[in-house]
């Protein structure tokens, strides 16, 4: 019985994080924006929804509001930053993540600082039912994001990634496309963040940490840039690989760091030996 619960728990996390991976892919893979602020969007969705929900707001309202807050942040962040190129964009978005973490730690009146927010209501009580909800929501999110990426708008974003000047010459407003795509990317990241908060029932400022960023990028790059299938499979692979460690019997103080080391190692190996990942259509240029 314990084993089944563990499998269900793992499946729920995979479901939530597969949304995160695809949403990161919208910005990084499909549009070519090296966005290191994704944990920030995930965290905003989690914090906004959790803070509203503990005040008694219905989850039907709090989770969408959290996602919308993330989207607004994404568009605001895009305004000044998308004209930056390559690693400067990466630096600025990383700085954005750190600012959010700092606010979460220090704005104690609202966020309770490092104490975090305990007692966040769950979407449904039982984990089996929760898994069902997550699977449905993940499928719906995938369809929506797949539609966005295949729409005229999404295809234009891909054209901008490949040749921004050419897209401009065709009369496309490349800035608006990039900003809106970063907004969509943030929307789904915030949505996943809300689901996460209402599953784990506790969040603290460490949600804005750099370790989660590495996990997200490992899942994305293992699966492959601009690949829908890759995002789902990358997530599953990354969640399953460190799990056998649990049964070897390492103490939990070593288990956590080992998981992080494995994620980082996988990311390094794939960057060196298979930069396109399993199903990638493009690589970083």
């Amino acid at each position: 019985m314990a084993f089944i619960n563990y499998v269900i728990h793992l499946a729920i996390l995979i479901g939530i994080y597969s949304i995160v991976t695809f949403s990161l892919n919208l910005a990084v893979g499909f549009t070519g924006l090296l966005n290191l602020g994704h944990v920030g969007f995930f965290g905003i969705g989690a914090y906004v929804s959790a803070l509203l929900a503990v005040q008694g707001v219905s989850l039907w309202i709090s989770i969408p509001l959290g996602a919308l807050a993330a989207m607004v942040m994404g568009i605001i962040l895009a305004m000044p930053t998308t004209r930056l190129k390559g690693d400067y964009l990466a630096l600025a978005t990383l700085g954005f993540t750190f600012i959010l973490g700092s606010v979460a730690r220090n704005w104690t009146d609202v966020t309770r600082g490092a104490l975090g927010i305990p007692g966040i209501p769950k979407i449904v009580k039982g984990n089996t039912e929760f898994l069902f909800v997550v699977v449905v929501l993940a499928v719906v999110s995938y369809l929506a994001m797949w539609y966005i990426s295949r729409s005229r708008f999404g295809l234009t974003c891909e054209a901008i990634r490949d040749d921004e000047l050419a897209a401009k010459m065709l009369g496309k407003n490349t800035f608006a496309h990039k900003a809106l795509m970063l907004g969509f990317s943030a929307l789904f990241a915030g949505f996943a963040g809300g689901l996460f908060a209402h599953y784990i029932t506790f969040i603290d400022p460490s949600i804005f940490g750099i370790n989660d960023l590495i996990l997200m990028f490992s899942m994305l790059i293992v699966g492959g840039l601009a690949s829908v299938k890759g995002s789902a499979i990358g997530t599953i692979v990354l969640f399953l690989i460190p799990e056998p460690l649990r049964f070897i019997g390492f103490p939990s103080s070593v288990l956590g760091p080992m998981r992080e080391m494995i994620f980082a190692l996988i990311l390094l190996l794939i960057l060196i030996y298979r930069p396109k990942g399993l199903f990638g259509k493009v690589d970083f240029s």
Partner: protein, 290 residues
């Protein structure tokens, strides 16, 4: 009045440490053209090695300092060989190298956590306190300021007046042309990482003596270091040093008005403003394209 002096002095001490981090970071950025975030993890390794040699192994303190700095310098070179060199070989873009360096940083941080544990460590030292112009300053803080000024002067001399420094500047300027006049860029990259990591090792040892050690210590310091570098100019070492002192002062004077928890946020906001409005920094001339 003495509070103002104290805040300015604290700013200079913080600036001296940031300058050591930033100069190594911007040296490596200038020559290799990518952001080596794992620089912070190298620094943390230096501090933990000092703890290992001086406290756990009980070696003579000065021997422990020398060993920690030497091993840290080599560690930087090993990172270059194991991770960055293979990536350069497949002509990876600077974005890929940036992601790799963040992965490397989390890898080392997690390794530090697994090896030494999460609890805060201290290296016990004698640390008398002085009064200077109505402000409190400790012996170690004086050492920090003196050592970083001497090292930065030495680095400046190395870059301006030695053959190695000229070769490094040549590779930084134009790798292909440097190659045609007989400079081996890979060799220069190795030296660059050794020198940069040496500076990080010294910074790690100094911070290890002055403050407590914790596994994530390198992350916040490398952020401060590159913020200082961005303020001054990423690719110029004098710029990085200037920016670091500005950052140290602004942070410490800023907490006159803001709660001290916001010290880090001040740095990030400065970073953000400079990236958006003056990405080339105060001393940089042209904005780098893609």
């Amino acid at each position: 009045m003495s509070i103002a002096t104290q805040l300015i002095l604290n700013g200079i001490i913080a600036g001296a440490i940031y300058a050591l981090v930033a100069s190594g970071f911007s040296l490596i950025y200038g020559v290799t053209k990518f952001m080596h975030f794992a620089h912070g993890a190298v620094l943390a390794t230096g501090a933990y090695l000092l703890y290992t040699f001086a406290v756990m192994a009980g070696l003579n303190f000065w021997l422990a300092v020398v060993l920690a700095i030497m091993v840290t310098s080599l560690f930087g070179a090993v990172m270059n060989w194991v991770v960055y060199k293979p990536l350069r070989k497949i002509k990876a873009s600077s974005a890929v190298l940036l992601i790799a360096s963040i992965a490397l940083m989390t890898f080392i941080n997690a390794a530090v956590l697994a090896i030494w544990g999460a609890d805060v460590k201290t290296v016990p030292t004698v640390n008398p306190v002085f009064d200077a112009l109505g402000a409190r300053v400790t012996f170690i803080q004086v050492i920090i300021i003196v050592v970083s000024i001497l090292l930065l002067l030495a680095l400046w001399w190395l870059m301006k007046c030695t053959k190695l420094g000229k070769a490094m500047r040549a590779v930084a300027d134009n790798k292909e042309v440097a190659q045609t006049v007989g400079i081996n860029p890979e060799k220069i990259y190795t030296y660059t990482f050794i020198i940069g990591s040496f500076l990080a090792g010294v910074a790690g040892v100094l911070i290890g003596i002055e403050q407590n050690l914790y596994p994530q210590m390198g992350v916040s310091l490398v952020i401060k270091g590159f913020t200082g570098a961005v303020i001054g100019s990423l690719a110029s070492i004098p710029g990085a040093v200037l920016g670091s002192f500005i950052l140290g002062l602004v942070e410490n004077i800023g907490i006159w008005w803001l709660p001290s928890g916001y010290k880090d946020a001040i740095a990030f906001v400065l970073l953000f403003i400079f990236l958006l409005f003056k990405p080339s920094g105060l001393l940089g001339k042209k904005v780098r394209e893609a």
